[in-house]
């Protein structure tokens, strides 16, 4: 359960104070699929990072499963990221020198899982995203869609409760994008809480709920099915 109440996040840029989040409220239940939409600079990525414990609110309350995140130490936040949260980024952020398997192994490696277990779970995670035949390929030998699937395998190999995706299809062609979205949907069906930041209404339509952000606040809420589809001829 993700509970955000009156979250504010301000940055100081030179002499200017930027209000990236300006009193956002939102509650996301376990297993929900939520899309965050909004124009550039509306604070949707900041909100996602906040949920992912990569950032801490300047004021307000963020409770994750009842624990107040703002009061946790850096070490505890790191632990939450490692055990409960998976991240998928627009630009994949794979380590170029490591193979698909090596990239997927990273969270387990730094989490201290023993070698045998790591190997088994990496194989499972890569199988789940349909990449079993390409485990020993390096990122530059994979297509964009395959790279994002490696990233999803890496995000889910620790079996987190929450998967956070920032424009997961923003850098993919529509066919690979659809495959990625179907994959995420399937994982959500299996109980994973899914929060997706997107510009694309076709991505948002798949969500249970959509929140629309403007100027650091949640301006509108709707059902995914209420988002108008954009048909590209």
């Amino acid at each position: 359960m993700i509970e955000l109440h009156d979250i504010r996040r301000t940055y100081v840029l030179g002499d200017e104070v930027v209000h990236a989040l300006d009193g956002a409220d939102e509650t996301i239940a376990d297993g929900e699929h939520v899309a965050i939409m909004g124009p550039s600079g509306s604070g949707k990525s900041t909100l996602l990072n906040m949920i992912g414990c990569l950032d801490r609110p300047t004021s307000g309350s963020y409770r994750l499963d009842g624990r107040e995140v703002g009061q946790l130490s850096d070490e505890e936040l790191t632990r939450i990221r490692r055990e409960q949260i998976g991240f998928v980024f627009q630009f994949f952020h794979l380590v170029p020198r490591l193979t698909a398997a090596g990239n997927v192994e990273l969270p387990l490696l730094f989490g201290g899982a023993p070698r045998g277990e790591r190997r088994r779970r990496v194989a499972e995670a890569l199988a789940a995203v349909g990449l079993s035949p390409r485990t020993e390929h390096r990122p530059d030998q994979l297509s964009g869609g395959e790279r994002q699937r490696v990233a999803i395998a890496r995000a889910t190999v620790t079996r987190p409760k929450i998967l956070l995706a920032d424009e997961p299809t923003g850098n993919l062609d529509s066919k690979s994008g659809t495959q990625i979205l179907e994959l995420l949907d399937r994982m959500n069906d299996e109980g994973l809480t899914l929060v997706v930041v997107t510009h694309d209404p076709n991505v948002a339509r798949r969500a249970d709920r959509v929140v629309l952000m403007v100027d650091g606040r949640i301006a509108r809420r709707m059902k995914g099915s209420e988002v108008p589809a954009i048909v590209v001829a």
Binding site: D74, R97, F110, G111
Partner: protein, 402 residues
């Protein structure tokens, strides 16, 4: 994360950035190699000279007339040094039991001739003991006969080159009659060639009994006396006792100088130590340059991998773990560079030894230890400083840096 996993991860990342790794290894090993090679040369020079000096003979004390210190004017002291005489030699032999033997030495320049051939060489008056003290062998015949210090004889022993020059017609030197100045002498031996040795060239010389030489040069004082001490441990005692005996005989004045071989070698060792130090300084500069090279490589490595650091933070790697990864990389890199450098420097020293076998170039252990330690220190310091800064960056900021 286990240590093995950590090292493996660090190793993979070094192998993954091959060019950068090779470049820093090259820089590092050249720096370390320079230190090792230069100190090897310095150490080789020191040992070469020390060896030369110890080949003069062992356990030696040298006494010569006059003081080598500046003296003021003392009322009652006339300041004219006493001669160092054969009586002094006998007195020392009689009363200092640590002294095994004494070779008195008188030296002058004189022309030695055989038939029409003439050659002006140093003529040394001494006794049979010189041969033992200076440890030289004979190419032919024998050295001066043993016996009474004061008995002169018309005998001469020639240096190998002197003999070769005078007897160039293929005649046998042994038994031949030569002239030294206006005196006749019979050649009884030729000294084995041994090359130049600190000061005295025993290859181009004529050696005659000490009394004969004193008459020849009309001298009452010895040029010096070379004392051989029974055991190295007694060197200092012997020096003191010799001094005592001679002062007594010279009316309470120390108008002579006593040198022990150790003191000479020590002085030279000090000089060469300074030389080595200078080489070390040069080497240290090259090592620092190598260190700065490592610093740059590490700096680039960390800034190139800022986004990787951000990613690792996002997927739940601890700051300490990330730091440990960079530390392990720096440690692997500098250890490899250090070892490679030692191998490089030692091979250089070996090449010198192969080319010049008489020059004992060998890396001193302290240089090996210091070079590796400095390499490691530089590597670890400059390897982790940028990483430490990068891990304190906001993970999101770090991630955005592609």
């Amino acid at each position: 994360m286990s240590v093995a996993d950590l090292v493996l991860f660090a190793l993979r990342s070094l192998l993954g950035h091959r060019l950068r790794t090779v470049l820093s290894l090259v820089g590092m090993s050249i720096g370390v190699g320079a230190v090792i090679l230069l100190t090897s040369l310095g150490e080789g020079a020191r040992r070469y000279v020390t060896d030369q000096f110890s080949s003069i003979g062992s356990n030696l004390v040298i006494v010569f007339p006059g003081r080598n210190e500046t003296t003021g004017f003392f009322p009652g002291s006339i300041g004219v040094p006493h001669d160092l005489t054969l009586e002094d030699v006998e007195a020392v032999l009689r009363s200092v039991r640590e002294v095994a033997r004494i070779a008195p030495v008188v030296v002058g320049q004189e022309t030695v001739s055989y038939r029409e051939r003439r050659r002006t060489v140093p003529v040394m008056g001494t006794t049979r003991d010189l041969m033992v003290v200076q440890e030289f062998g004979m190419a032919a015949g024998s050295f001066l006969p043993a016996g009474d210090l004061r008995r002169g004889a018309p005998l001469v022993v020639l240096g190998s080159e002197t003999a070769r020059e005078l007897f160039s017609g293929g005649e046998q030197p042994i038994g031949a009659a030569v002239r030294i100045g206006d005196r006749r002498a019979r050649v009884i031996g030729v000294i084995e060639p041994r090359g130049l040795q600190v000061g005295v060239d025993f290859d181009d010389i004529a050696v005659i009994p000490v009394v004969t030489a004193m008459q020849l040069f009309n001298r009452s004082s010895l040029f010096r006396m070379i004392l051989q001490i029974r055991s190295h441990a007694d060197l200092e005692t012997a020096r003191r006792n010799v001094r005592q005996v001679l002062i007594e005989r010279h009316d309470g004045e120390q108008d002579f100088t006593i040198l022990t071989q150790d003191a000479v070698v020590d002085t030279l060792g000090t000089i060469l130590g300074v030389l080595t130090l200078a080489l070390v300084a040069i080497a240290a500069i090259s090592l620092s340059v190598a260190g700065i090279g490592i610093m740059n490589v590490m700096l680039v490595s960390v800034s190139e991998r800022t986004s990787e650091i951000g990613l690792l933070r996002a997927i739940g790697a601890r700051r300490r773990q990330i730091l440990a990864v960079f530390l392990a990389e720096a440690a692997l890199l500098s250890t490899a560079g250090g070892v490679l450098g030692v191998v490089l420097g030692a091979s250089g020293a070996l090449a010198v030894v192969v080319l010049y076998p008489e020059f004992p170039a060998q890396p001193p252990w302290w240089a090996v230890v210091a070079a590796i330690a400095v390499a490691l220190g530089f590597g670890l310091l400059f390897g982790t400083l940028p990483a430490r800064r990068a891990t304190t960056l906001d993970p999101i900021e770090a991630l955005k840096k592609a």
